[in-house]
């Protein structure tokens, strides 16, 4: 079980290696990628700001909850911090379990909890030169700058 904040490109292949277990029959992974749009706005880059210490503590707690709740063989996740471009992987989640029901449910649980509980904020830089911190409720910039 490991959760990390990384300022370098994520490596899903290497991350998935942690999930191997001879008793595991199912592996589900999720990746969040930087999209070229948010609603009607054209996005050219994103910046993620994290409070690393609290994010790691909370991330590890979420993974432990998932392992317990879904009886997993392994779970891991990593979140980017820093500046990302279109197509970059912002977050990776992976789990292994005996059967696929648990794998899908656990992977979904982890990404949902990470997105709502981690102290990580996203600033979008638009093609028109503006930028803004994204608000979790509306999905819109809180105050375009």
């Amino acid at each position: 079980m490991s959760f990390r904040i990384s300022t370098h490109a994520l490596d899903p292949g290497r991350l998935k290696d942690q999930l191997s277990a001879d008793a595991a029959g199912a592996c589900a992974c999720f990746e969040g990628w930087v999209r070229n749009h948010n609603d009607s706005k054209s996005v050219r880059a994103l910046e993620y700001e994290a409070h690393e210490g609290l994010a790691v503590k909370e991330g590890e707690k979420i993974l432990a909850e998932a392992i317990e709740k879904f009886d997993l063989h392994a779970a891991a996740a990593e979140h980017r911090a820093g500046t990302l471009e279109i197509g970059d992987c912002a977050v990776w989640v992976g789990v292994s379990s005996s059967h696929r029901d648990a794998a899908f449910s656990a992977c979904r649980y982890i990404i949902d909890e990470l997105k709502s509980r981690l102290p990580i904020w996203k600033k979008e830089y638009y093609a028109d030169g503006h930028s803004g911190w994204i608000n979790c409720v509306t999905g819109q910039p809180t105050a375009p700058e």
């Binding site: 609290l54 102290p119 990580i120 904020w121």
Partner: protein
């Protein structure tokens, strides 16, 4: 009166124009301190949507503050 260190993240830091300040306050709890600071810096988010940490541990808004505490104010996360 106590003196605490307030730290701001993301949109809060941009609005406050600084990431750290020392605040002398009569606030007894993290929530009372947020109310003061939100008024001073124009933070519009309600407490239920934000999070707070005291001395690097997540805390609830009723947490009592002591002189010398560091209080971290987290705006809503992106969640998307």
């Amino acid at each position: 009166m106590i003196a605490v260190t307030a730290r701001y993240f993301a949109a809060f830091r941009d609005k406050a124009g600084q990431d750290t300040e020392t605040v002398r306050t009569k606030a007894k709890t993290a929530g009372e301190l947020y109310a003061e600071i939100a008024a001073a810096h124009g933070f519009a988010d309600t407490m239920t949507r934000c999070k707070v940490a005291v001395n690097d541990e997540f805390a609830d808004w009723n947490t009592r503050l002591a002189d010398g505490d560091t209080v971290l104010f987290f705006p809503p996360v992106a969640g998307g």
